[in-house]
């Protein structure tokens, strides 16, 4: 990538030594420019877009009713009687169920991350900027949650509260909040000791202004990047919960649940059993690679 060089007009003062200026494209202009030239990100972004669109318009594009069962058409192979991806153990169309299942998976990936970003991010900034005591209270509380492996914690919380989408989301939010809080806290403590915060104080900025302008502006980047990488973890964890019977209840279509019920048929029709796993894999790796691409594009120092 070669930046456009514009040389400023010659100046009359000897003290004005002019350096060539980068053409101003604006921050987001630069990010977009870099993203467009990153083929991997563009490709997986496209796949992600397809998955998201399919989830949103599921009733319009799905070829069958996701709950329509058939006794004779169970576990049929790809292409059987206009079922492009075959049927599941109750004779329901697999493609339809995969499309509908994407809705739950995306919801379970995105919503808990948003909640965790909001709650954890706020707590982290307060903990990082506040005094020693505030920091200790917040961060040690978060450490308690950290002590459990994330899967175990999610299982425990949704196990205690019972299954269902809402409880699953609450469980995942609680799993993600400590990590989010830690990221925000680390970024805040690093930034609050930098010269520009002191410089802001020296120009008379109050605590609120420093928080709103300098801290938030600098913390948002790392928090956003981490959040985007958490989405794929959320999808995996949600699928795991459903697989264990702690998430979505049947007959709702969900990739984790489908994987769990189809598992018993693995010797009858293995390619169909693998499909929900493939869907989880593709979605999660797309989120990961796109978030990596955005992280690279957003780094102003590169």
């Amino acid at each position: 990538m070669s930046p456009t060089i514009i040389t400023a007009p010659p100046s009359s003062h000897f003290e004005e030594q002019v350096a060539p200026a980068l053409m101003v494209r604006g921050y987001w202009g630069n990010v977009l420019f870099r993203l467009r030239h990153d083929r991997v990100t563009v490709f997986f972004g496209f796949i992600l877009l397809l998955i998201i669109l399919a989830a949103i318009f599921a009733p319009l594009i799905a070829p069958f009713d996701p709950y329509k069962e058939s006794v004779i058409g169970r576990l049929k192979p790809f292409g059987w009687r206009s079922h492009p991806l075959g049927t599941d153990e109750l004779g329901r169309d697999l493609l339809t169920r995969l499309i509908y299942g994407g809705r739950i998976s995306l919801l379970m990936g995105v919503v808990p991350v948003c909640i965790a970003t909001l709650v954890g991010g706020t707590l982290g900034v307060i903990g990082g900027f506040g005094g020693k005591r505030v920091n200790t209270v917040i961060m040690r509380t978060m450490d308690v949650f950290y002590a459990f492996p994330s899967v175990l914690l999610a299982v425990a919380i949704s196990g205690a509260m019972g299954g269902g989408i809402a409880n699953g989301m609450i469980a995942l939010s609680m799993v993600f909040t400590p990590a989010m809080c830690r990221i925000a806290e680390t970024a805040t403590t690093q930034i609050k000791n930098l010269d520009f915060v002191e410089a802001a104080r020296a120009t008379g900025a109050g605590t609120f202004t420093i928080l709103r302008f300098h801290i938030l502006g600098n913390v948002l980047g790392p928090v956003f990047i981490y959040a985007s990488s958490l989405v794929s973890v959320g999808i995996l964890l949600a699928s795991g919960l459903s697989f264990l019977g702690l998430g979505v209840k049947p007959p709702t279509a969900d990739w984790g649940l489908m994987l769990s019920t189809l598992r018993q048929s693995i010797y009858i029709n293995p390619e169909i059993c693998a499909l929900p796993g493939v869907a989880i894999f593709i979605t999660s790796i797309s989120f990961n690679l796109v978030s990596d691409g955005i992280r690279a594009a957003m780094d102003v120092r590169m």
Partner: protein, 327 residues
């Protein structure tokens, strides 16, 4: 003339559980409006701490400040939070050493200057932006309209420091504090920034306190020089007099240790030893252990101020005595 800044017997101590660091030990000086005072000293001599104390930028819990600081008649040490916000940026503003880290990397410099102006004076975004443009022109940043929308990393070190100066001037301060503003710059850019600062200071009639460890910079910009050592001003006077005829052995040592056309095979006369540990309160002259002219009386007590001629001061008991060349 009424002085713009009056600092009287300022002491700053940093207290932690393990130790107390006596960073500044009784500093007294004043600056008139439109005057440039240069505080000269090596690392750890307390010059930056003195500067930050003037704006109460030191961590309030750990730093104990005593003495008195008056800026434009206001008692800085007695100000509440609101008064401090008015003082900082409005009456006094500061230029920092590292223009790379003293500007927020995620905002354009225009955005940062606008934010500072609106914080103090309110007004519309457009008005503040117009003022920001004026400021960039004032500090001679080429093609200022475009530079307003540049991020700090897109500017060279010299331009960044100019942007920093523009931000410091944004609210029309009467006192400018500069903490080694040219140390991080190339030699050629250094002199440009110094010339700019000197011109702005004259045009705007700002009193300026300029902290540096560079004698060349001091001679370029200062009206008066105060030499600090171990948290005390050991010598003070008009710049030409101090540089031509230093009174204190430390100042003489500093002058001797610069490059000034010695022959190549001649070693530079460095001052032997290193600065004292400020965790221990010195009982005598703090420079005595490194001083080639020290006599037993030097260690007896802290030397009083001596004024051998009007406007000059030195804290050395041998000032009035004829002194041989620094060994």
């Amino acid at each position: 003339m009424v002085p713009l800044v009056e600092v009287n017997d300022l002491t700053v101590r940093f207290v932690t559980r393990e130790m107390t660091v006596h960073a500044v030990n009784g500093v007294t000086f004043s600056v008139s409006p439109g005057e440039v005072l240069c505080i000269l000293g090596e690392s750890g001599s307390g010059k930056s701490v003195t500067l930050r104390a003037l704006m109460r930028l030191l961590p309030p819990r750990r730093a104990q400040i005593t003495g008195s600081i008056r800026v434009d008649g206001e008692d800085v040490l007695a100000l509440d939070a609101k008064g401090l916000r008015h003082l900082r940026g409005g009456l006094v503003s500061m230029i920092f050493q590292e223009p790379m880290t003293a500007l927020d990397p995620v905002y354009t410099i225009g955005h940062q200057i606008v934010e500072t102006i609106r914080e103090h004076k309110g007004g519309t975004h457009a008005a503040a932006r117009a003022r920001a443009l004026e400021l960039l022109e004032l500090v001679k940043i080429p093609s200022p309209e475009r530079r307003l929308d540049n991020y700090p990393h897109e500017l060279s070190g010299g331009l960044r420091q100019r942007a920093m100066i523009a931000m410091a001037l944004s609210c029309g301060p009467r006192l400018l504090l500069a903490d080694e503003p040219t140390t991080a710059l190339d030699a050629t850019v250094q002199i440009q920034v110094l010339i700019l600062l000197r011109r702005l200071q004259k045009e705007l009639g700002m009193g300026t306190i300029f902290v540096t460890h560079d004698l060349g910079v001091a001679s370029e910009i200062a009206d008066r020089i105060a030499v600090m050592y171990a948290g005390r001003i050991v010598e003070e006077g008009p710049v030409a007099d101090v540089l031509a005829a230093p009174l204190h052995p430390y100042t003489r040592g500093l002058l001797a240790s610069t490059v000034h056309g010695q022959s190549r095979d001649h070693d530079i006369d460095a001052i032997p030893g290193s600065p004292p540990d400020l965790r221990i309160v010195p009982t005598g002259c703090a420079f005595a252990p490194r001083c080639g002219m020290a006599i037993p009386q030097c260690r007896a007590g802290i030397p009083e101020e001596r004024h051998p001629s009007p406007g000059r001061m030195a804290r050395c008991i041998r000032v009035d005595a004829p002194v041989p060349a620094y060994a």
